[in-house]
Symmetry: C2
Subunit: 243 residues, 2 copies
Amino acid sequence: MKKLFVVGIGPGSPDSLTIAARTAIESADILVGYGAYIDLVRPLFPQKPTFQTGMTREVDRCREALRLANEGKTVALVCSGDAGVYGMAGLILELRRDFPEVTVEIISGVTAALSGGALLGAPLTHDFAVISLSDLLTPWPLIEKRLLCAAEGDFAIALYNPASHKRPDYLAKACRLLMQHKSPDTVCGYVQNIGRTGERSVVLSLSELETAQVDMFTTVFIGSSQTKVIDGKMVTPRGYRLD
Amino acid sequence: MKKLFVVGIGPGSPDSLTIAARTAIESADILVGYGAYIDLVRPLFPQKPTFQTGMTREVDRCREALRLANEGKTVALVCSGDAGVYGMAGLILELRRDFPEVTVEIISGVTAALSGGALLGAPLTHDFAVISLSDLLTPWPLIEKRLLCAAEGDFAIALYNPASHKRPDYLAKACRLLMQHKSPDTVCGYVQNIGRTGERSVVLSLSELETAQVDMFTTVFIGSSQTKVIDGKMVTPRGYRLD
């Protein structure tokens, strides 16, 4: 049995794994992943052999996971959050044509839009869009277009990868684009280090978000026109009548 | 301690709960929820008292959960999928003003966009939008606008509540709107009864989806222009260079 699990491990704390994710990792002969994600699960499985690569070595990492599975090892490729959402599931399915005997099972996990949303309140209780601001693999004009379309549709929005050392000003650029269709008073929020040391959540307006300092471990939430602040929490109502 | 957990239980199978969700339910004196969702977790906690309501009694259900917590019981309000995404977290935060002593903790879970995506392949590996086709609480013109904006932005899209007895033709209407901006050949898929008896996934084109028969236990996925079929799986590439 040549088996590869692509496992979403959730935001980082050991109890945010699903039982299926934990079982898959337990059953694996070797864990493969980006070092920082391996570190999140290592305390749960201290004896498990690992193969780690750096952050931008995704293709190498996935090929190695498939190669190890093809050798007969049961492999768990770990992704933070969900295995699909900006995760490795897609790349594994693309690369599998070179390893046709490997059976791939994708195990979904709690992506940052959900875990971060729970910390902020309930920002995504109605329709929403998820957009990454990283232009490493996506041309910036397409990101810009998606921001404008999501704003025009009055979606709540979760922004992944809102900034990095090379892109310190992308969140501010995104906020200015969103303000073409959304009010500067739109309720927004961001969360940092979800489920990890330094966890922090902030609720603020879209105009305040434009000048906020965020890093690559941040997920940003932009409200719809209906989003409000209730007792310090960011809430997008579903629309139930309360009287 | 007056404590209310709002718990996302994932799609339905016992191993799709997170460890945090399971722990919260274990710690509760009583489970509150829509009967069909209570039934999903009852086998795990057969001795646990429950308070159940029908499908459209969300406000009553949430008030009762808060009332029971206010009496001193530890309450777990269970939601299918995530606690936030079309779940009860928002409504609880809105209603909590009448129960200021109750502490609310939201525990996120794997929403159908993620669990259904994993069954289909990796449809949401790039930017995506989540839209409910139910117009019980949302005016249809707003749903229509969001469909058009998401299509114009070339988002992959997950559609929740694609049909019901009263709305058998909504998915067909949505497909026709999406085809204003998306090719009829766009790769699509749907999943039914995720993690439950009768689980089924289908990959098809947008024009085929227009005439597909789906029910309220279905989640529908519309690809972006980049989505493709690989070995029968629906895959939206992240954009890695494979050569």
